[in-house]
Symmetry: C2
Subunit: 325 residues, 2 copies
């Protein structure tokens, strides 16, 4: 059985912990927080054996094989490097890092330690994204020409919330924009030209962003993200021979509508339980097979995505504290 530690006790850590109950051959044996009480409360609530009062204590726990890093964005690099240095495998929540520089350091550390590392881009492991990969690869759609995808919701301005806090890597791009950007990357590969514009709010983070992605193939990607605006949160994939409509929410759809000259059909691709389960299964499968990264979500894709977000942030003028501007 694969023994998991969870670093962080926020909403995504809760979801992950619940999802783990759906997975065979793995269990969460430890949780860590910066505060003893928070860790203990989380451990009690979810029946986890050990609660660590620091992230370092989890790193030193000899009975943990792999750590799920679910700390704030701004800590992902630090915490991942800590666990890799202690020989742990790591599944790091998205965004993998604040920027490409951090991401490269994390990948280099994993190659150094010979341990497994993956960004928790859970969408890619869902049945619907597997179906999208089949559509992409089967030629059903012909050459892809245009992908549009959006993710945005209207939160009230809450300066103290992590979404609006630049020191925690806030803003729409890293939190939700990463999903439509990931879809474009998944389908169209690495862009050769990126144009972006956005609105930076009073707390210094991007509140809404528009991105145009140009690819050598002649395909375009159009992405929008927001934390103060209700966007469609769906996607549309246009190929020369067919169109796929991806209903909201585009990062975890349970059906796809495929339209070609022969008509329109719906691919039902729902699942039982929390969709995070599929990425957990992948991590366990890779670790069990002695692999250091996933074929489905390789680290080069993570680095490319980080580079795209860096370029977008440069164009819209968002720099996180401590970053070279």
């Amino acid at each position: 059985v694969i023994r998991w530690g969870v670093a962080g006790t926020g909403g995504i850590a809760e979801r992950f912990t619940n999802a783990m109950t759906l997975v065979d051959d793995g269990a969460i044996v430890a949780v860590a927080s910066r505060r003893d009480e928070t860790a203990r409360r989380f451990a009690e609530r979810f029946g986890i054996t050990r609660a660590h009062a620091s992230y370092e204590a989890l790193a030193a726990d000899p009975d943990v094989d792999v750590v799920y890093v679910a700390t704030p964005h701004s800590r992902h690099a630090t915490d991942t490097l800590l666990y890799l240095a202690h020989g742990k495998h790591v599944l790091c929540e998205k965004p993998f890092a604040l920027n490409g520089t951090e991401a490269r350091a994390m990948v280099a550390a994993a190659r150094e330690s010979g341990t497994f590392l993956m960004e928790a881009m859970w969408s890619r492991f869902l049945p619907s994204y597997r179906a999208l990969a089949d559509l992409r690869d089967s030629g059903t759609l012909g050459d892809l020409r245009f992908v549009e995808a959006s993710f945005g919701f209207a939160a009230p301005l809450m300066p103290e919330h992590r979404l609006f806090d630049a020191t925690l890597g806030g803003g729409s791009l890293l939190d939700v924009g990463i999903y439509p950007l990931h879809l474009c990357a998944f389908l169209l590969g690495v862009p050769d030209r990126i144009v972006a514009t956005g609105v930076v709010g009073e707390t210094g983070v991007d509140e809404q962003v528009i991105v145009g992605l140009h690819h050598e193939s002649g395909a375009l990607g159009m992405v929008s993200s927001a934390i103060r605006t209700n966007l469609r949160c769906d996607a549309r994939i246009v190929g020369e021979r067919g169109v796929v409509d991806v209903p909201a929410f585009m990062h975890c759809p349970d059906r796809l509508v495929v339209s070609t000259v022969s008509g329109s059909r719906t691919i039902e691709c729902g699942w039982e339980g929390d969709g995070l389960r599929f990425q957990i299964e992948e991590v366990q499968h890779c670790i069990g097979a002695g692999r250091t990264e996933s074929d489905v979500m390789p680290l080069r894709d993570t680095l490319a995505l980080a580079d795209v977000m860096d370029t977008i942030r440069r164009q819209i003028g968002v720099t996180y504290p401590g970053e070279h501007s």
Copy 2:
């Protein structure tokens, strides 16, 4: 009664001529083409009294008050200047001109001659666009934050067709992209930052384009256009207090769906007959009142739209023959 001449005999001239039958107090009394036979055939088919074998002959026709310029995009400036020089009022088909330089010359000429001039941006006169203006101005939606609109269809590559012919001002932007750009301008005003990327095909025209528009108000506009890709052709308008979904086709919708905290409602705003009738009525109203431009579609809006399209073409690398690159 206002006496119209039509310059050009293509598809839009036919639609215009049919729409004129719905309008009181106006009639088409002459048509012109470069070829005598084409003009005569059009005149016979639609029961028009005089057929002119050149655009110049129409300009010299003393019994014509106003000319509808429906020649290819690349002729709009030349033909409009010709008719203005002969003291005719002019309704010029969209795009008004190939670029802002041409557009400014046309506006200057109209001010010189003291005659009426308007771009045939017929959408703006439709009941649905009047309803959009009411929504914009009434505060129902709160401050506007985001407008997205697309217009694109998948034509086969036809190098000899005007859509693909750079010498005729082909490409998606001027032909269909102008509609979503116009919607953004109509709702958000003049952008202070424009980013664009696009795909230029083998004939040198833009086959698909993505545009991000940033406005001083903090609102963003997201536009896409295409002539080889089926886009949604709809629009979505997001304000702080409500959303309007504009169904396809966004340039002539017959209903709007308005969603606010108090629920969702559909505004039915269909009409009888061809929607071109409303702009014709506006032109006749203005001419009858001795006005030289329309309050609803003023020339400054036409110039601003031309400037936006110039900026986009510079960014995507489309230059028409004869333009300074």
